[in-house]
């Protein structure tokens, strides 16, 4: 055998070699009755153990903390979206499950700090393989994954999640965009973590 | 016996030295008469024979430069005099023009005649209003006396002389940037070839010479090539102005043959200011690698300085004594280069900008020995990579100072700041303090 089993040396390829190797796997009956009893004992013991079955969907077992579930589009502390519509997630996606279209933040309609925001954001959960490459690619930590795994439906269309399905809910102190950036700040301030909540002046004024 | 050879500066002590009257009293405008009677090519040959080399820094033979101008090409030729003296430490042309502007004008007439130019330009830096005014007055005097304009001194030669005042940019001392500026564009160096001798000002054959080079011409015409080449050393002929500044007892212009040493010049200048010792000095302005006390006996000619690892440059000897912080001095120079970078090419524009930040940190004692290596590496990426020589000039003081004073840089880093008292290096500091 080669030292590294992943790097076979010459002569170790081909069907003949494979057949030869499988022929070497022992396929003999158990050696004795005692050995058979040993096997039954394992089964018997398991019958008296506490069952591991979870009564889903009545009971939902928590996932591991890093479980790759449904995506979420995060917000800055004042409610502005972190997504800048850069499409790097779409670029990274090996399953071509993400569609992003960027757009220009304007003075009247600011959705994210800086010049650009994601106007269209779709993840197709029929395609998504939950590999997490998208969240690694995200330069603003806008895209993260939740632990939510209940992603089944009877309509294929419903499994294409739109931006509003993916956006994180507003927390205390957040305002629903579009609204202006925190007074006196620039996009750098947001990325340096200097914006810790919204300011009354960011409240959109309604002229209706 | 003094080693001085006052030619250009011979009569600077006279109160009216800048007037045409004083100039003529000492034989001024005599060389023009002589030159206009010669064939232009003979004038070029004479200057070639004299061995006169450009006094602006590079030391290119002046006669050879004139000889590059294609003759009989039915094109206008131009002479441009570079009076954009703006390198830190360099201070020879302005005193010369203040005290004796007519020697330049006479040189211009002769040089223009030699290269068959009908127009000559003096490009002078804008900050020196007093010199500009004096030069303007001198040009007016020369026109009035018939030395400029149509049919100069009845010899049938026409020459118009234009004084152009720059807006104050170091880069405009670079000859092609100067030409751009003179044409009304932003001063940025041009791609060569074509060289100015083929396509210079307004794309016509142009000679660009330093003030001192052109001012040296009348004396060569008057006294002959042999007289001139008798002075100086084998390959660096003639006399020149050495400008001593800084921590010397008696700073100023010292006109001496090429090849004199700083030790000799310091004797003439009364030595380092009392109570102090020489620490380092520049042989030719801030863009030439610095020297230390070990170089006191280096012959100050093109070859001598070059052999010792620096450049003669403009012979601007800035002398610093032991009260000067090398990091501080280098930072100030680098700030100058950053401010004066024209921005055309990347290494100079971005490099000088970065160097200032690194040096500021170093002066403030921020950093480690690794930062000195980074500094050297950044300088290495600038040196010889830029479009013109400005960035090389910015790199020189850093490389040479690290060569001689690396310990002092380290001292800043170990003490967490500058160990020097900046006041001690000022002229108003009491003698021998600290």
């Amino acid at each position: 055998m080669a030292e590294n089993p992943l790097v076979p040396t010459s002569g170790e390829f081909g069907l003949e070699k494979a057949a030869a190797e499988s022929a070497m796997i022992p396929n003999e009956p158990p050696a004795s009755f005692a050995k058979q009893l040993q096997g039954f004992w394992v089964t018997l013991r398991a019958m008296f153990k506490k069952p591991n079955t979870v009564q889903y969907p009545e009971v939902k077992a928590p996932t591991e903390a890093r479980f790759h579930g449904r995506h979420q589009l995060n917000r800055h502390e004042d409610g502005l979206e972190k997504c800048i519509g850069c499409e790097l997630c779409a670029w990274a996606c090996p399953a071509d499950a993400i569609l992003v279209e960027g757009a220009n933040n304007t003075e009247g309609a600011q959705f994210s700090p800086g010049e650009r925001y994601g106007a269209v954001y779709q993840i197709n959960y029929l395609r998504c393989i939950f590999c997490g490459l998208c969240i690694e690619a995200c330069p603003t930590r806008a895209l993260t994954m939740t632990n939510e795994y209940e992603l089944a439906d009877n309509d294929r269309g419903k499994l294409i999640f739109e931006k509003e399905d993916l956006l994180a809910p507003l927390r205390q102190g957040m305002l629903m965009p579009p609204h202006p950036m925190y007074p006196g700040s620039d996009d750098g301030s947001y990325y340096r973590g200097e914006v810790t909540g919204s300011h009354p002046s960011q409240e959109p004024t309604h002229h209706a | 016996m003094t080693k001085l050879t006052p030619v250009l500066s011979a009569h600077w002590d006279e109160a009216d030295s800048f007037t045409i009257g004083a100039y003529k009293r000492h034989g001024g405008y005599g060389a023009v008469v002589k030159a206009l009677e010669m064939e232009p090519d003979a004038v070029i040959q004479l200057v070639k024979d004299s061995g006169l080399r450009g006094r602006g820094g590079a030391g290119f033979p002046t006669g050879m430069k004139w000889g590059f101008i294609p003759q009989g090409d039915n094109k206008d030729h131009y002479l441009v005099v570079n009076a954009d003296e703006s390198e830190p430490g360099t201070c020879k042309d302005m005193p010369l023009l203040m005290a004796n502007p007519h020697v330049l004008i006479e040189g211009i007439i002769i040089a223009s005649y030699a290269i068959r130019a009908g127009y000559a330009f003096i490009y002078i830096r804008g900050e020196v209003t007093h010199v500009v005014r004096r030069l303007q007055a001198a040009i007016a005097e020369a026109y009035a006396a018939g030395h400029l304009g149509k049919n100069i001194q009845g010899k049938g030669y026409d020459l118009e002389l234009v004084l152009h005042v720059g807006a104050g940019a170091y880069i405009c001392g670079e000859e092609t940037a100067l030409l751009d500026s003179l044409e009304g564009f932003r001063g940025q160096p041009r791609l060569r070839p074509p060289f100015p001798a083929i396509a210079g000002l307004y794309a016509k054959p142009t000679v660009v010479n330093n003030v001192e080079s052109i001012s040296s011409v009348p004396s060569i015409i008057n006294n002959g090539a042999e007289w001139f080449s008798a002075m100086g050393t084998e390959k660096s002929k003639g006399y020149t102005l050495y400008s001593l500044s800084g921590h010397v007892a008696n700073p100023g212009q010292f006109e001496a043959p090429l090849g004199i040493t700083l030790r000799e010049l310091l004797e003439l200048a009364g030595g380092i200011r009392p109570g102090h010792q020489l620490k380092f000095w520049t042989p030719g302005g801030s863009s030439t690698p610095i020297f230390t006390a070990e170089h006191l006996d280096v012959a100050l000619d093109y070859e001598g300085v070059s052999a010792a690892g620096s450049m003669l440059g403009t012979k601007a000897l800035q002398v610093f004594d032991e009260t000067t912080c090398i990091v501080r001095a280098v930072l100030r120079w680098t700030e100058f280069y950053k401010h004066e970078s024209c921005g055309k090419c990347t290494p100079c524009r971005e490099g000088t900008w970065w160097l200032v930040q690194i040096l500021r940190d170093l002066e403030a004692g921020i950093g480690t020995a690794a930062d000195l290596d980074k500094l050297l590496d950044v300088v290495d990426n600038i040196m010889g990579r830029s479009f013109c020589a400005l960035a090389d000039g910015a790199a020189s003081p850093i490389i040479s100072s690290l060569k001689y004073f690396r310990e002092e840089y380290m001292q800043h880093l170990t003490t967490g700041g500058c160990p020097f008292d900046p006041v001690a290096s000022t002229v108003f500091a009491t003698a021998g303090s600290r």
């Binding site: 850069c86 499409e87 960027g102 757009a103 | 950053k338 055309k344 971005e350 990579r385």
Partner: protein
């Protein structure tokens, strides 16, 4: 390059990284290395711009005759020489370190904008930072910042933080476009691209700077944040806007054209195009586009109909009737051929004309002779000793022709003469000698032209037909001087339509209708007994006949009646109109049947540019369900029982090729006399006009950013007229006819006193709609 040019050049052999390469003398090192496949990183270098040597990214080690340069040299500035040995970053550690050092310098102040930058993904700085940059920055300071982005025109945005100051944009604007509206300002680390405060970057060619910017410093407002390169499907295409013939690239995302770039074609547009070609494509996805056939019902309204219904209705209306065909100037060669064949075979008429504009019989004769046989190319402009512009404003009417002339003006002071109302900005840039004429008097001015040789190029615009006798004078001038003729129509399809016989006096391949042999030739190829012999009608005659009910129906394909005359639309009201259109228009509004056709991105085909050079293109939007004109005509002809058998573009192209060009007797030109000079009373002038490049043209609709850089309309008059009217520059004057009046700021310029000039179709200056004329007629000019 032509073989002729190749043989002239001395060849130089140089060794780069140990490999020999032989290139023409004058080739720069960086270009010679490309030939070997050695990519030296670069920013400021551009093959069509003069070397700058500014970015210093392309430093290599150079040795000549065994003597090495002491320091690395910029390979974009040094031409190769014999006995030169070059070591690039691949073989020289010095060059490699130099390049890495420069890249580090460029990046220390470059913002981390890639995620929000439009250039991200197709950025030379990104790519070269990967190949030549360090993994981690050694820079610890604060980056230089500027306000961003700055709109330097409505269509171009400038981000100075991203700029690497390569000066490609400023050099392009100065050297190629002659519009030095952007320059480098300030110095040192503060150097930046800028415009004059009140002078935005309103060049017709500004989009090229966006394309050649090696970073995201210049971006197009219309494409801002629209997509990433990996979203786009790119198709090489041909520009449909004018007869320059630009190769372009169409970038489509999910069935929608998002961007168009200049394509590369060294013999035509080099690597440039104009802003109209680049940005005027929103009409393709306009809400006005028609998706299904429309039939006018009993209620007088248009209703959506199925194809069989619509075709049946149209077939019934046309079968056996007297029908005229207006093809329009934007049809592809194949479509125009189909219209020509449809008219002759199915409709049995010669009443077909592609000239949806002013025209004359003199012009028809000129087109069938001189224009058809013109072989002048861009390359002739390169070699010309003189260029004469007659009824032609290259910058406005064929912008790439302008660039080509400007290149020679810049390079070798090519002499340009223009016979025009006044010296337009384009003419000024070309340093053209202006021969000012009052419209209508062109013939005399042309006859008086002198000093033309067989190397001179005479460029005739389609507008010259508006002056009677002028084209006859051109024919005479060409005969006298042997100068080369280039006929440059404004529209992309006209030269192809001429070649395809979409005009009354010609059959496809330049065969004269009047020549029985030519008719037999074509009839045999088409498998029909004979072709109609009756002389056909021109556009104006078709319209007049329709109005007078001498025609029963008119097929109108992509024609804006206001391009022809103010009355054209009304003339169509009396007749049955079958409209082939991409979008709702004035014609579809009155049409009886509307058949939707494919727009440029939805079909394949070809144009002939003004040289006659084929500009083939393929479908950019595969998903499209629309059909090209020829397919629909073929279905309609089948429905009418006289098939033309043109099932596809490819089949049509094959048929055209098989038919070939006419090699029989050429038609001869029938000269016309010029009109007598018009008598002018005080306060009267003769109107001249032409269309500016950016105006109210239908195909420019829906793109406000482009419209924002259109030149404002003015009324141009001479100084002495201004004096007699008592108006100063910029004061309003009114130009009127009995039909209407136009009031605009006066622009005083050198022109004949008897002349007044207006933009033909600009905002506030639509001469046909408002005044009812294009020029050559008397108007009154008064102070407003």
């Amino acid at each position: 390059m032509t073989p002729e040019a190749l043989t002239e050049v001395e060849m130089i052999t140089v060794v780069i990284d140990g490999f020999e390469v032989t290139v023409p003398k004058g080739t720069l090192i960086i270009r010679a290395a490309e030939k070997l496949g050695i990519q030296i990183p670069r920013f400021c270098d551009h093959p069509l711009l003069a070397p700058a040597g500014a970015c210093r990214q392309c430093l290599v080690d150079v040795e000549i005759n065994g003597r090495a340069f002491p320091k690395p040299q910029a390979s974009c500035t040094i031409p190769v020489e014999n006995n030169m040995i070059v070591k690039t970053q691949l073989t020289s550690p010095v060059a490699e370190k130099a390049q890495k050092g420069i890249m580090e310098f460029l990046l220390i102040n470059h913002p981390l904008d890639c995620p929000v930058c439009d250039k991200g993904g197709e950025c030379p700085l990104q790519n070269q930072a990967m190949s030549t940059g360090r993994g981690e920055s050694r820079y610890e300071g604060v980056k230089r910042t500027f306000e961003k982005p700055v709109a330097i025109s409505t269509q171009v945005l400038l981000d100075r933080e991203r700029c690497v100051l390569c000066a490609r944009c400023t050099r392009f604007s100065d050297q190629i476009a002659g519009d030095p509206f952007i320059t480098l300002n300030e110095r040192g680390a503060l150097q930046q691209v800028g415009i004059y405060e009140k002078d935005p970057f309103e060049s017709y060619y500004s989009g090229n700077t966006v394309q050649i910017c090696p970073v995201g410093a210049l971006t197009g407002a219309s494409y801002r944040f629209r997509s990433r390169p990996f979203d786009l499907v790119s198709t090489p295409s041909a520009c449909e806007h004018c007869a320059s013939g630009c190769a372009i690239r169409t970038d489509v995302r999910r069935g929608k054209t998002l961007r168009r770039l200049a394509g590369e074609d060294a013999s035509v547009n080099e690597e440039w195009n104009c802003d109209k070609g680049r940005w005027a494509f929103k009409y393709l996805s306009s809400k006005e586009r028609i998706a299904t056939p429309l039939l006018r019902g009993a209620d007088g309204e248009l209703h959506e109909a199925s194809w069989p219904e619509a075709l049946a209705a149209a077939a019934t209306a046309l079968k056996g009737k007297r029908v005229g065909v207006l093809v329009g100037g934007r049809a592809t060669v194949e479509d125009a051929y189909a219209y020509s064949k449809f008219a002759r075979v199915t409709l049995g008429t010669n009443d077909i004309d592609f000239r949806a504009r002013s025209h004359s019989d003199e012009e028809a004769s000129f087109l069938a002779t001189a224009a058809l046989n013109a072989k002048t190319t861009y390359f002739d402009i390169d070699k010309a000793d003189k260029v004469v512009l007659l009824g032609f404003e290259p910058e406005d009417e064929s912008p790439i022709v302008f660039l080509r002339i400007f290149k020679q003006v810049k390079k070798r002071a090519l002499s340009v003469v223009t016979v025009a109302a006044f010296a337009s900005r384009g003419s000024q840039k070309l340093k053209a000698t202006l021969i000012p004429v009052v419209a209508g008097n062109e013939a005399a001015a042309i006859s008086a032209l002198e000093g033309l040789t067989e190397k001179s190029v005479v460029l005739v615009g389609e507008r010259l037909n508006e002056s009677a006798g002028a084209l006859s004078a051109v024919v005479e001038l060409l005969a006298k001087s042997n100068a080369k003729l280039g006929w440059i129509p404004r529209r992309s399809g006209e030269r192809g339509a001429l070649q395809s016989g979409a005009i009354a006096n010609l059959l496809p391949g330049g065969r004269p209708v009047s020549d029985p042999a030519a008719r037999v030739d074509v009839a045999a190829a088409w498998g029909v007994e004979s072709l109609p012999t009756t002389a056909g009608k021109s556009t104006a005659e078709i319209l007049a006949a329709a109005s007078a009910k001498e025609l029963d129906a008119v097929v109108v394909a992509g024609v804006d009646p206001l391009d022809i005359s103010a009355e054209a639309l009304t003339q169509l009201l009396n007749t049955y109109v079958l409209s082939f259109e991409i979008a709702h228009s004035a014609v579809t509004a009155i049409a009886d049947v509307v058949l939707p056709v494919a727009a440029i991105t939805e079909k394949s085909g070809s144009f002939l540019d003004w040289e006659g050079r084929p500009r083939a293109f393929t479908k950019a939007i595969e998903e499209s369900l629309t059909r090209s004109d020829l397919r629909i005509l073929s279905m309609l002809a089948y429905e009418m029982g006289t098939p033309i058998n043109l099932p596809s573009v490819a089949a049509t192209a094959r048929e055209i090729a098989a038919l070939g060009n006419w090699d029989g007797a050429k038609a001869s030109f029938t000269p016309a006399k010029s009109n007598k000079s018009l008598k002018l009373a005080a306060g009267e002038a003769v109107l001249s006009s032409w269309r500016l490049l950016l105006d109210l043209g239908t195909l420019q609709a829906g793109e406000p950013n482009l419209a924002g850089t259109a030149r404002p309309a003015t009324a141009n008059i001479s100084q002495s007229r201004a004096d007699s009217l008592g108006v100063a520059e910029g004061e309003a004057i009114t130009v009127s006819t009995a039909r209407g009046s136009i009031t605009l700021p006066a622009h005083i310029t050198a022109m004949a006193d008897g002349s007044v000039w207006l933009a033909r179709n600009s905002d506030g200056s639509q001469t046909i709609a408002t005044l009812g004329i294009v020029g050559g007629e008397v108007v009154s000019v008064v102070k407003a």
